[in-house]
Symmetry: C2
Subunit: 207 residues, 2 copies
DNA sequence: TCGTGTGAAGACGTTCACAGCT
DNA sequence: AGCTGTGAACGTCTTCACACGA
């Protein structure tokens, strides 16, 4: 994990949640909000929320609460939502093309600029609107268009190989949807999302 | 969270990972594996792995390691992978229908038995092969087909309402893809997967 | 000697409780 | 009085280090 910032990963996730809650409050015309109110909306303890927010500096007014707009722009800055971030997606199979059709990333400030697949013909058949390239063109593409974030949806057995190429080409963050555990240099960040594990986990905890 | 079991949530996630790593090892004909080897494959510390495994009982042989097959069946039992689990999906919009096309849940022992959407006509146009119903039929369906797990992909503003109906109809675990924070009775388990937050998080930690 | 199982230590994250500002 | 900011207490998770069995 990068040593640049002292904000823990868990806090960053919560800050995203706070931001979304603030958006709703702002839509309702609210101008200030107390830690208690915002905490309830975000499903956390109010002192945790206060502590999380002090990572951004001191924005609150004692006796009053936090100014909604100011807090939101502080969050946007920390979360790098200020500008559109380009992202590539590797592995346009079932899950990959599913994610491409899903427009949620775009809405949150990310633009998927290209997709790569080893079997470009099958991938084409899925009728996607994003520029689609063969795996072989990955290195070329990244040389011409430096992109720092990649979404990885290839089968587990290819995940490490593709990862190595991504890292060599300068990608610094990988959102890994394959069930594989990736080995990367320690300045590269990997977030794994394992959909099957999430269901498995639920299935364990119900009764 | 259910009090039935003393195994922490984080451990359950790791057990899923160990299981997948063991599958690979078993394919290669390995019969026993040491904590060190398996830990490396799973990307964790070896004493953590040993501690996690003792939640299942004592399966290892000192000086030798763990018997691969035995350990796998112990894991299958704990993770409830023994039998196919029925699941419903609510919200067949962009993300929902994307997940339906993705066959990964099926592969891991879950069967999506039905999908629900408020706008059944638009949803039909997406050409899905799973039985598709209107939201109104949710309660009826669950009365006739008790299902304990639901995947929730509706927009944030409808998430709490749908959740309430799911809970009333007997659903006990919800995999929540909407960015909303859900309020549920404490015997109901919710796992949230927020795709945009995952990218945001990466984007924060790179440099 | 090799590798598990585990108490103890340490790191990390959360909650409490209250001083101090408005 | 209301609410933030924060040290201190508490709890949880991870790692260490070593006794003990094969």
């Amino acid at each position: 994990m990068s040593e640049k910032s002292a904000i823990p990963k868990k806090v960053i996730y919560r800050l995203s949640t706070y931001y979304r809650c603030l958006q709703r409050l702002a839509e309702n015309g609210l101008e200030t909000v107390s830690s208690g109110t915002l905490a309830k909306a975000a499903g956390v303890n109010s002192s945790q929320l206060r502590k999380d927010i002090t990572y951004l500096g001191q924005w609150g007014t004692r006796g009053l609460g936090y100014p909604v707009e100011t807090l939101m722009s502080a969050l946007r800055e920390v979360l790098r939502q200020e500008k559109l971030q380009p992202v590539i997606l590797v592995g346009a199979g079932n899950l990959g093309s599913a994610l491409l059709r899903y427009q949620g990333f775009q809405k949150e400030g990310f633009e998927v600029v290209a997709a790569f697949d080893s079997d470009i013909e099958s991938a084409r058949k899925r009728g996607l609107e994003i520029p689609l390239y063969s795996d072989d063109e990955l290195d070329d593409f990244l040389q011409k268009n430096p992109v720092r974030l990649a979404i990885l949806c290839v089968p587990a057995e290819f995940a490490q190989g593709v990862t190595n190429r991504l890292v060599r080409a300068g990608v610094q963050g990988i959102l890994n949807f394959s069930p594989a555990v990736l080995e990367v240099p320690k300045d590269i960040v990997v977030n794994r999302v394992d959909l099957a594990s999430e269901l498995e986990n639920l299935s364990f905890f119900i009764r």
